[in-house]
Amino acid sequence: MPENTAAPAAGSAPHIEFRDVLKRFGDNTVLQGLDFTVSRGERVTLIGPSGSGKTTILRLVMTLEELTGGYIHVGGVPLQYEEKGGKRVRIPDKRRRRTTTDIGMVFQHFNLFPNMTVLENIVEAPIHVKGLSRADAVSKAEGLLAKVGMGEKRDMKPSQLSGGQQQRVAIARALAMDPEILLLDEVTSALDPELVGEVLAVLKDIAAETDISMLIVTHEMQFARDVSDRVMMFDQGSIVEEGPPAQIFSEPAHQRTRDFLRAVL
């Protein structure tokens, strides 16, 4: 079981491990020779200019993008490709899904299912992926909706909700799968400024109350400072520098980090 520690014990197997990761879109190399690990329970925020490959990293972990080269391991299990007899072999979708069941993702544009009510959105995967009974899934969903302050809206359609409300439902939907890893991809970037706070407050609560490992891409530097154990600065597909938020935000070592922070803060 993961331990709820800010700085996970050294020596424990990494929760997420990137090994020599290569990702190309056509002729455009987005990530090259990327190595890094995330420990169990650790919260890592990726910062850097747009196009630096941060979102691609999250999408690779969620298997939304196909790895071009290298390996990603989740909890010690190969995710997209494995080495077999000296060859790099693609892992079939069915087996990939066994690994991704423990991974949840919240998107910039919420991506709720518009043909379902709020409640149906949340119980869909617990019932059809985890095999929960409908009654169990519903009672769990109601608990989560109350937690994100959406208890009253369970029978509404996503189109009837504000962006902030939709995003809170999307967070509840991801949590309903009991993820061990949560990927947050610019979850407040599509929101009106006055709605950002309610979503970040929910996420801060979750960070405080659970030991879910998190990989976060955000432009909200205060949020990054509040919840992260580690901040990684990316530029052009590689890590410029990394460290605790206090260090990166207060005394960045690299000029590129300083330039970036000056631009966003």
Partner: protein
Amino acid sequence: MNPSTSWWDWSHAAAVLPSLLLEGLKITLIATVLGTLIALVLGLAVAIIRRTAPTAIATPFTWVVEFIRMTPLVVQLVFANLVLSPYIDSTLAIGIWVLGIHYTTYMAEVYRAGIDSVPTGQWEAATALSLPRLRTWRAVVVPQAIRNTLPALGNYAISMFKETPFFVVIYIPELVRVAQNYGSTYFRYTEAITLAGLIFLAASYPTSLLIRKLEKKLA
């Protein structure tokens, strides 16, 4: 005015109307409803196969679909009747299947557009929830695709209704055939054919208004 020489005779109109409604319209409606059901179900299946099957299967499959879509319904009716009548007794059944399969190829295109209109984010959300492929289609993609295409599907149903007169070429007693039979028996075509046309109009027009209303509601 002598009724037998005037261009319109109400007594002939009254005489032909019951058989137009009871025989002709009945068969026309049966053919439309069953043909539509076949096209709705097979059309969805074709659209999904073309989208998911490996190229080696999808490509020849596409040729067959295009072949059916690009040849006239009348030719298909005559051909199918020639080939199948030794094995299938009911000409009506042959007609309904030909009509249904012909329109399957149109409806498959409509469904394809509907499937393409489902945003990538929906597929990604399904992947993020680790939903199995089949469940993603059933619970997420197909309901949204159908919602986006309902008006177009309705228009093809009307179009099928109006194409049932082609059944005359294989002697199925639908509306127009019944009218023709009456005409050739009494040598009075005007009333029978006019009434048949009016019956088509009376059924199609309100339906098309309904579909337009639906279209506005979904937009």
